[in-house]
Symmetry: C2
Subunit: 450 residues, 2 copies
C-alpha cells in the first residue's frame, strides 16, 4: 500500500495535471524523490506520464525516475525522446538499469542508442548486454573501487578524493593483484582507522566472497543475504573483477523471486500482471486453467464409470464437493510448504523421504479428524452406518494421498531440476481431484455393495 | 537449496561426529563462517547440535551462530549453559538478536539473565525488550555513530579511530543537535572527501528518512527498499535517535513476510513449520481446513436440495468436479494476484472497483472459453443440446463469480484493515465452491426442466 506521503503526492499531481498548472508541477517534480515519483507515474495513464516526463528539467532526474520505474517504464516515454537526450539520460543511470531498458526497446532503436553511446566512449553497457538477464553479469554495475595491494591507506583516501566520485557502493574497496585479479577487500572504515602508511594488503580481508558473471541472480541474492554483506564482487572466468552486485538490487531480486513463486503456484504467470490488459492476463492465465479443465474432464469420466451405482444411491453425489475440497486444500498446504521451503533453503531435496513421510502422516492425522466429522454428518443426515464409514474412509484416503502427492510432486520436480513452483500448482490439484473422486466411489460402492 | 560448499561441510561434520573426532571437529568449527554453520546445525538432531555447540572455544563464535540460527535455535543449547557463559555470549551478539532469544526463554531463565546483564551495565537490551517484536523498536540495534553538528570532518575521523569500533553499520554518521534530536546524516565517504576543517552541518544531508520505534517492520522494510539506503534511523516520540535498522535485517524481514504471506494464503500457518513436529503442524493446519470442511458440508446440503432432480438425471453429478475446479482455480488466481499486489504496493485499496471489474472481465472471458470446451464435452458424451448449454453456462457463471469473489474479498478485507493474506484463502475457496455448485444445479434444473 502507498504511504500517506506518496498518496498525498499522487493526488496533488493529479489535481495540478487537470488544471494544467505547469510551473507548479515542474517545481514539485524537481524536488520529489524519484522513488516517490515512480509511484505517481505508476498510477497515471501513459498520456499523463508523457506530459509529466517532458516537464523534467535535467537528464539526471529523468534517469533516476526510469531506474525506479524499471519494468513499468512505458516505452512511449523513451520513444518520443531525441536520441541525444536519451543517451544523455542513460549516462546518468546505473549500467544495469540501462541494460534492462535497452533490452526492452525495439531493435533499431536500441542499436542506434548503442552506437551513439559507443562513439561517446561508454563501452561498459555494451559489455553488460552480453550477460543473461537473470545472472550476476546482468544485474551487476561496472562501477567499483579497485586499488593495488601495495597502495597505502593514505594513498587510497587521496584517490577517493580525486576520482571514483559516482561509484554506487563506495564502502568496500576491492584490492587486486598486478594482473587485475581479485585479491581481497577492505572497508572504507578500515582506511580511516589504520595508520596512514599501512599498505592495503596488510589489513585487507583476503578471503572475499565473489560470484561469477553467469551465477544465477537467486544464488547471488542468497550469498548477500546469508553473509550480511552490502555488495558482492563479480569476477569473470579468470577471476578478474568485472563488477559488483549491490544489496539494494538484491532486495529487488528477493522481492521479485517471491512474487514469481507466489504467482506461479497459483498459475497466474510469473510477473505481476494486474497492471496489464485484460487480453494479456487472460492469455497468461489460460494454460494453467487448461490443466485443471483436463483434470475435471477426467474426473467426469471417472464418475461416469459409476453412473449405475449413482442412480441407485443419488445422495452419493452430494459428498463430492467436501471430499474434493478437503483433499485439494491439504494438498495445497503441503505443496506450498515444500515449494517455499525449497526456495528459502529450509528444505533440501535430499530430505525427500523424510518430508514426504511427514506430510503423509499429517494428512493421515488430519484425515482421521475430518473423516470422523464428515462421517458423522453423513450419519446424521442419512442414518446409514455403512455410508458414514465409507464417506469417512474416503476423506481419510483423499487427505493422506493429497499430503503425499502435495509433497512428493514438488520434491520430485526439484530433484530433476524443474522449477517446483511452476509445475506444482496444476499438477497437484488436478491429480488430487481425480484420485479423490476415484477412491471415494471405489470405497462407497464396495462398502454399500452397489 | 544448500550450496555445494555448505553441503560438503554438512557431510564432513556428520562423518566426524559419528567418528567422535573432537579435535578435528573443533578445528573446522572455529574456522567456518557462522552462516554456514547454521545450515549444519539446522540439519542435525538437537543432541548432536549440543555436542557441537560445546566444542566452540569462544563466546563470540557461539553468539554469532545463535544470531544466525535465530528462531531455529534449540533452547536446549542455551538451557544447558552456565548463566555466566550465557551472559558473556550475549555480550557479543547484536542487541536485536539478544532480545529475540531472551523473549523465547522461560521467564525465570530470562529474568535471571536480564538481572545479571543489568548488573554488568548492559541496559540497552532491557530497553529494547519494551518494543513490540515486529516494530522498528524490536528489530533495531542501539549501536550507531552520532556526532554533533559542529564537529569537523577531521574530528569525526579521529573519533572513529578511538571509539565506535563495534558498530554494525559504520557507513552512516548521524548528526544530532544539542538536544540529541536527529538533525541529519552524512556518509563516511563524505568525511574523507571534504576539507578536514568543514563542520558536519555544512555537508550533512538534513532531510533524513527516519522511522518511529512503533513503526511496523514491514513499513520499515519498504522504506529501506524504496530509497535504496543501507540503514534507517529509528527515533522516539521526541525525535531523539534511539537505534538504527540495517539493510541485512531488512532482507530477513522481506523474506519472512513473503513466506508468511505464501503460507497464510495456503492456510499453512505463518511461520515455516516443516521443521516442526507432526503434532504442531497438524494443529496449525487444522483450523483452515475447518473452513473448507464447513463449506463442503454446506455444498452437501445444497446438492441435497436437488436430490430429486439428480435421481432423474444422475449424470449431472459427473460435472460437479470440473465446475468446482474451474471456479476454484480462477478464484485462487485472482485472489493471489490481489493479495500479492497489495503486499508489494502494486495495487491500492482505493482501486478496488477497477481491479474487481477487471478480474470479473477476465473471469467472464476465460469462462466463455472453458464453458465452450466443457459444454462440447457434455454434448459429445450425452448428445443433449440443453445439457451442453446448461453446463457451459454453469462454467461461465462459476468462473466469473470466482473472479469477482477472488478479487473483492481480499480488497474488502484490506479496506477494513484485516490482513488479506490470512483471510482470503479459506473464504474465497469456500464461497466459490458453494456458489458454483448452487448455480450449476439451478441452471441445469431450469434448462432441463426437472
Amino acid at each position: 500500500m502507498l504511504s500517506e506521503h506518496t498518496r498525498i503526492l499522487v493526488e496533488s499531481i493529479k489535481r495540478l495535471l487537470r488544471r494544467g498548472a505547469t510551473t507548479h508541477l515542474r517545481k514539485i517534480l524537481n524536488k520529489s524523490h524519484a522513488a516517490d515519483l515512480s509511484a505517481v507515474f505508476r498510477s497515471l495513464p501513459v498520456a499523463d506520464q508523457r506530459k509529466l516526463f517532458d516537464l523534467f528539467e535535467d537528464a539526471e532526474k529523468k534517469g533516476a525516475l526510469i531506474s525506479e520505474l524499471d519494468k513499468d517504464t512505458p516505452l512511449e516515454l523513451i520513444e518520443s525522446m531525441e536520441l541525444d537526450d536519451i543517451v544523455e539520460m542513460l549516462d546518468h543511470m546505473p549500467a544495469d538499469d540501462v541494460v534492462d531498458l535497452i533490452g526492452r526497446l525495439p531493435e533499431d532503436k536500441s542499436d542506434s542508442i548503442l552506437e551513439k553511446m559507443k562513439k561517446e566512449g561508454s563501452e561498459a553497457v555494451e559489455g553488460l548486454l552480453r550477460y543473461g538477464d537473470d545472472t550476476a553479469g546482468g544485474i551487476m554495475v561496472p562501477d567499483f573501487i579497485t586499488l593495488k595491494e601495495n597502495t597505502t591507506a593514505k594513498e587510497a583516501i587521496e584517490s577517493l578524493q580525486k576520482e571514483h566520485m559516482d561509484v554506487e557502493m563506495p564502502f568496500y574497496l576491492y584490492v587486486v593483484d598486478e594482473y587485475g585479479k581479485l585479491a581481497g577487500v577492505c572497508s572504507l572504515r578500515q582506511l580511516v582507522v589504520v595508520p596512514p602508511e599501512t599498505p592495503l594488503k596488510n589489513f585487507m580481508k583476503p578471503d572475499v566472497f565473489s560470484v561469477r558473471t553467469n551465477t544465477d541472480q537467486e544464488e547471488v541474492a542468497k550469498i548477500v543475504a546469508r553473509y550480511d554483506i552490502l555488495a558482492v564482487p563479480v569476477v569473470d572466468e579468470t577471476n578478474r573483477l568485472v563488477g559488483i552486485v549491490t544489496v539494494d538490487d538484491v532486495i529487488d531480486i528477493i522481492r521479485e523471486e517471491a512474487t514469481e513463486d507466489i504467482l506461479k503456484m497459483a498459475g497466474a504467470g510469473e510477473e505481476f500482471i494486474e497492471t496489464q490488459s485484460v487480453f494479456r492476463s487472460t492469455r497468461i492465465r489460460l494454460p494453467w486453467l487448461f490443466a485443471s479443465c483436463l483434470g475435471g474432464i477426467i474426473a467426469f469420466f471417472v464418475i461416469g464409470r459409476f453412473e449405475s451405482s449413482l442412480s441407485k444411491l443419488t445422495y452419493l453425489a452430494a459428498f463430492i464437493p467436501v471430499i474434493m475440497g478437503m483433499g485439494g486444500n491439504i494438498g495445497t498446504q503441503s505443496s506450498t510448504i515444500v515449494v517455499r521451503g525449497l526456495a528459502t533453503g529450509r528444505l533440501n531435496v535430499r530430505d525427500i523421504w523424510r518430508v514426504v513421510c511427514k506430510e503423509l502422516t499429517v494428512g493421515l492425522v488430519l484425515g482421521l479428524i475430518y473423516g470422523m466429522i464428515i462421517g458423522s454428518v453423513a450419519q446424521a443426515r442419512y442414518d446409514t452406518g455403512l455410508l458414514a464409514i465409507a464417506v469417512g474412509l474416503a476423506v481419510i484416503s483423499s487427505m493422506s494421498i493429497a499430503g503425499l502427492v502435495g509433497s512428493l510432486v514438488p520434491m520430485a520436480f526439484a530433484k530433476i531440476n524443474i522449477d517446483p513452483a511452476v509445475a506444482t500448482g496444476p499438477f497437484v490439484t488436478t491429480a488430487v481431484d481425480i484420485i479423490s473422486v476415484f477412491f471415494y466411489f471405489e470405497i462407497a460402492t464396495t462398502f454399500l455393495g452397489i
